[in-house]
């Protein structure tokens, strides 16, 4: 929090105070962007490092086209959920229900398709697009439910999404009867198999969605509002931003992205079950934090999240190439998560001691005194 900002809860700020709030938020935002850039740079290094380590350790398996394509096909679904998690974290919340939403929308698609195909396979095939839209709509609906609980009812995001996660998971178990459902529209699976040259189409789609989200956050008014809401809710309120509608759109958008992720999963693998990807909840949080998202809100970078997704997918397939178990991968995830946060803390502390040298040039130009470290210190209790 910058120094030139009025204390939260000031009863009725005059124009001066409001201006101050806005300056404070803008300053913070610039600093946040600079720090996100630094973190994105760090992710590029981590990505290259991970890639070279596994490429050297087991080039025959790791560098095989099949393995590289596999990374490209599995990264999208996780990456898109991670972007949705990043959105929730950007507003200072969290969305634990994303994986459950993705599963539910995949189940919807499979159930609709096999339900129609049982009577008339040709009709089911011709309805591919509406069925997919229905799947994504389920995701949007679930996201709106989260948004309603968080913004209108006022439940803390972690508890609201914890509750909806349980409910959606329960619904998924009941509809599937606890078993795995098979069958997805032919068109969808065919789409999942196509590639642009060596690059799988799913990966291209992932990058397209990531670019759209990055543009959305940095250029549209709603995107800016989402960032401001997370950076400083009080300042955002005094700037005339309705936190209710911002939160509502954030969680709805998150639900839509999770729904898309569910459909992409089907394009890769035409099965759906209630407990698919239970470990993804941890994984997407790791990716979001690793990609430079501040879990307390305000700063995030889509590029960082994309790079973090690729890095973790590379680590995962590298572990497989080295014949390490999924449990060793779980250890690696946990260690990476904690190590990154500890390093961030240490770096922020060091910058605080020498602000003039370490502060990025554009941040220094905008405001001489506050550093990211002060922001870091204010957020300690969470």
């Amino acid at each position: 929090m910058s120094a030139n900002e009025s204390p939260p809860g000031a009863p009725a700020p005059g124009d001066g105070a409001r201006f101050n709030d806005r300056v404070g938020t803008v300053t913070r935002d610039i600093i946040g962007r600079a720090s996100a850039n630094r973190k994105t740079g760090r992710m590029v290094v981590a990505l290259l490092l991970a890639f070279s380590i596994f490429a050297i350790a087991n080039p025959r398996v790791f560098l095989s086209p099949l393995n590289l394509q596999n990374i490209g096909v599995t990264a999208p679904e996780i990456g898109i959920i991670a972007i949705a998690m990043m959105l929730a974290m950007l507003t200072g919340g969290i969305d634990l229900s994303l994986v459950a939403i993705a599963n539910l929308s995949a189940i919807t698609v499979v159930a609709l398709y096999s339900g129609i195909a049982a009577n008339d396979p040709a009709l089911a095939e011709s309805l591919t697009l509406p069925i997919i839209v229905a799947g994504v709509l389920v995701g949007i609906g679930c996201g709106m439910l989260n948004g309603f609980l968080v913004s209108v009812v006022g439940i803390t995001p972690i508890l609201a999404t914890l509750g909806t996660m349980q409910i959606l998971n329960g619904i998924a178990i009941v509809t599937t009867g606890g078993s795995t459902l098979y069958g997805a529209p032919e068109g969808l699976t065919a789409f999942g198999r196509t590639a642009l040259g060596p690059v799988p189409i799913l990966f291209v789609l992932f990058i397209a969605i990531a670019v759209l989200m990055a543009l959305f956050l940095s250029t549209t008014s709603l995107g800016r509002k989402i960032q401001l809401e997370g950076a400083n809710p009080v300042a955002a309120r005094y700037s005339g931003i309705s936190s209710r509608s911002v939160l509502m759109s954030t969680y709805t958008l998150g639900g839509a992205l999770a729904g898309i992720a569910g459909v992409l999963f089907l394009a890769r693998n035409p099965t759906a079950s209630a407990d698919y990807g239970a470990s993804y909840v941890l994984l997407v949080i790791v990716i979001a934090v690793l990609g430079g998202t501040n879990p307390n809100g305000g700063f995030a970078s889509v590029a960082g999240v994309v790079l973090a997704t690729l890095t973790l997918q590379i680590v995962s397939s590298g572990f497989t190439a080295l014949r390490l178990s999924s449990y060793e991968y779980a250890i690696a995830q946990g260690v990476i998560l904690i190590a990154v946060m500890v390093l961030d803390y240490v770096a922020a502390n060091r910058r605080q001691r020498r602000p003039a040298i370490e502060a990025p040039p554009d941040a220094r130009a905008a405001s001489p005194e506050p550093t990211p470290a002060t922001a870091q210190r204010d957020t300690e209790h969470s």
Partner: protein, 347 residues
């Protein structure tokens, strides 16, 4: 009105008790088999492990954090101790195995506590990370074997009951571990309300900075909290294995959120500084009774998970709406009213 307010309790414990009572009355009218000592004891039995976990979660939540690694700590410490006893020292007395589990649990809790307190990191994310690490380390380095037989000393505890009598409808017995859970609940209640350590948890949970300036040693207290969680979790892990008569490394992990839901339903604030043992006990028992009643009513068990989620949202939603109404009532000062107050004050 005064007594009514006192009954309602600081964290709506009274409301919770009424809901529980209403549920029990409804169920016993619907099914005569419900209101018996046997049902009561079996509910207590199934609530034993969740209750010990919930006490651990309560302590963390009161201190302003959240811990999702407790189930991993529980299974790690209990499984490690039991598998050590089975593979290398089958004659180890039960007390030694339990002590070993507690030491391991405390050690894992210490790791959580040091990372969280020293580097001031978000507790949810750190414990998500350590959860993965603990489970991974257990499977990779300690083992993944399912032991259908506990070491003899622990197996003897499996059938140990404190009260055991024959009733008209069957046997009713109170397991020794249920008594352990009750004793732990009393100890935690005493600690939270009567000791300096307990009070400092509320202070830190209410406002870290204020607590620091008031002279509480925040870092030390936070580390101790997570050590305490580790100890409680280890006891819960042992209780789970003793009551289940087997050691399965795949147990427990995955149901953390049910426990957190119970504690939050019991009136603990996720932001810290609020929560009581009585509320937590009521929350845990309410969830158990609802689960039992749904099963008795013939609802498929798949719905239980959704029911807990719905209960959580309704419970927390009601609290959130009530809190906002209250905040509006107390703090609203519209412009002219506040101006008038200022003028009156000046006059």
């Amino acid at each position: 009105m005064q007594t009514l307010r006192r009954f309602r309790g600081k964290n709506n414990e009274g409301v919770l008790a009424l809901v529980l009572l209403a549920l029990i009355i409804t169920m016993s009218m619907l099914s005569p088999a419900f209101l018996t000592a046997g049902t009561a004891f079996s509910t207590l039995r199934s609530a034993t492990v969740p209750l010990i976990f919930a006490l651990a979660v309560l302590v963390v939540i009161v201190s302003g954090g959240i811990d999702v690694s407790f189930a991993a700590v529980a299974i790690f410490s209990a499984y490690t101790a039991v598998s050590f006893a089975i593979t290398t020292a089958p004659d180890l007395p039960a007390a030694a195995i339990i002590a070993m589990a507690i030491v391991i649990g405390a050690g894992l809790g210490l790791i959580n506590g040091i990372v969280i307190a020293r580097f001031r990191l978000p507790t949810l994310i750190v414990t998500l990370g350590t959860q993965g690490i603990f489970v991974g380390v257990m499977y990779t380095y300690i083992g993944a074997t399912y032991y259908a037989q506990l070491p003899p000393s622990l197996a003897a505890m499996s059938s140990m009951t404190v009260i055991d009598f024959q009733t008209g409808t069957g046997r009713a017995s109170l397991h020794v571990m249920a008594v352990v859970a009750i004793v732990l609940a009393i100890v935690v209640w005493w600690m939270l309300t009567r000791t300096m350590f307990g009070r400092s948890l509320y202070a830190i949970g209410g406002d870290v900075e204020a607590a620091r300036r008031a002279g509480f040693r925040v870092m030390r207290t936070q580390v101790l909290v997570y050590v305490l969680v580790g100890v409680l979790a280890a006891i819960a892990g042992i209780a789970h294995m003793v009551m289940g008569r087997s050691a399965n490394p795949q147990d427990l992990v995955g149901d953390e959120l049910d426990i957190i839901a119970a504690v939050v339903l019991g009136g603990a604030s996720i932001f810290g500084g609020r929560g009581s043992v009585i509320g937590t006990v009521l929350g845990v028992i309410l969830i158990q009774v609802i689960n039992n009643s749904l099963l008795l009513a013939g609802v498929p068990s798949a719905w239980l998970r959704a029911a807990v989620g719905l209960l959580l949202i309704v419970g927390v939603g009601v609290q959130a709406v009530a809190a906002r109404k209250k905040a509006r009532r107390v703090h609203t000062l519209d412009e002219d009213k506040s101006d008038r107050l200022v003028q009156e004050g000046a006059a």
